[in-house]
Symmetry: C2
Subunit: 339 residues, 2 copies
Amino acid sequence: MPEIRCNPVTDQWVVIAAERAKRPQDFRVPREERKYTACPFCGGHEEETPPEIWAYRTKGTDKNTPGWWVRTVPNKFPALRIEGMLNERSEGVYQAISGIGAHEVIIETPRHQIEFQEHPVEQVEEIIRMWRDRSLDLRRDHRFKYIQIFKNHGLEGGASIEHTHCQIIATPRVPKSVEEEINQGMARHQEETGRCIFCDMVEEERKSGQRLVVESDHFLAFCPWASRFPFEIWIIPRRHQDDFVGISDNEIKSLAWVFRECIQRLTNILDDPPYNMVLHTAPVNSESHPGYHWHIEILPRLTKLAGFEFGTNYYINPTPPEMAAKALREGHQPVVRPH
Amino acid sequence: MPEIRCNPVTDQWVVIAAERAKRPQDFRVPREERKYTACPFCGGHEEETPPEIWAYRTKGTDKNTPGWWVRTVPNKFPALRIEGMLNERSEGVYQAISGIGAHEVIIETPRHQIEFQEHPVEQVEEIIRMWRDRSLDLRRDHRFKYIQIFKNHGLEGGASIEHTHCQIIATPRVPKSVEEEINQGMARHQEETGRCIFCDMVEEERKSGQRLVVESDHFLAFCPWASRFPFEIWIIPRRHQDDFVGISDNEIKSLAWVFRECIQRLTNILDDPPYNMVLHTAPVNSESHPGYHWHIEILPRLTKLAGFEFGTNYYINPTPPEMAAKALREGHQPVVRPH
């Protein structure tokens, strides 16, 4: 019998179609052939990107030259633009605002042939540090109300460039989906229990263990109860914290290991699946949201969204999260890391 | 300068990235090769599907034999199941209900080689009649609160079977997205103006004309202001009506022509793009929603949803709806049909 599960944060329903349960080997995603040819993100090609915004580089090397290990540049085809005024206009019953925002690319390494899961863990730490640095800098522009950090991998994941990278988009309004997280499930749970729903999820998942993937001193990775996608993973910090930029250096180490571990395991059991990574965090430059609990969502893109999903916003997931978590643990005993 | 537009019904924001505007010829979707080999949906293969629920067939022909022109059967791999009790269960902080519902397939023709846009208009009328018949029958089961009629076309549209068909899924709860349409944009507009937002959109689109695709006596087809997808089309009945099943026979004729016209034009200018069709209508077996205004959304699937969309629920659309509508009108002057 299929089951319809409710995401306690967003109130979104997911049909867990256990009867046609799909194990890792049931997904045949054609492995994308990689070209491994030098591209504008490669070391030595710095002048092929828009001018560097920020980079971690060897002392004495110049901007827009080699010597960097993580580098942020403006997106060459930005979805939103930093220049201009934030104007509103209406047309009959309709409304619009000008497309003010920022759209940046974080190039994770100068080496084209490296995949995310092949980074040394210290390199992943540097990438996370760059997320923090850029988020701190972007919020100095008070027009920006939300800073979305994300990563697309593979063609089905929407990546048009294969050289491993993340992206940041700053938006002039708080997205409705973030407002809903805050005002619906989180607010209701707070009201009913006096506690944070994410803190309670961390406790629940550690106790039950059946959806656990890996854990470290500071982070828990598990397949969420109402996973929209097969092998979906959430990474939640154990310490309650609304804003990602409050992450400590110790926590960065811990997150880098857990994050890489999750992608390594997905890559191992699903043969390099396409995926999206999305960082959910509190809005900026608006009222504070101390009840928010930042977290990361990893969304493998093995199924297609179609008419039913667009009509109802119910998702259909053929892989129960308990089965997904078991596969992600197998061959890798759940590991507790010392930092 | 890109523009962020607000959907007045759902409050969803869409980035219209006009600067990298994509015209029809800029989308290169690899045309899917069709096999044209007989399948379980073909005439003469009736015993390869689960037993027939309802069919329009020549008098004197038996169920599950040839002689039909539109045929409804249960989905062989249903997302939700009709058998069983609607139970709730909770597990720690989480909740679920049993996956009760119905999942049916409407086979649009016994002929495998016909595409939707090649149907005679009378055949499309029969398909719409079947939607109405099945919706009326399914709502007799009071466990069902919403009846989602949809169509997936092409691999990117999530269609796993090429023989042209629609689907119906009945769900045991009103989807949150439908509740939001009703309680947010529609309610706000009603409160502020005393009018229906869809009725006002019909007026606005007829007056402005710049997003219009085609119109008939009873229906208007246009590219919506906050189109999420390139070449997205909404078909709205001019007469205010909450529930699709109230459609008259005259209106069915009018809708059949407009619907086929839209798909023909999409096929012509985009070379058979993948798409989803979604029918939005009022919930059933619950309080009445006289303010609802049923309509159809056609969603061509030429762009990928990725991290930004999943993080913020903002969509990025590289084709302004005004440009899309112009292309859809070109070569076909906007036509007013007599019925």
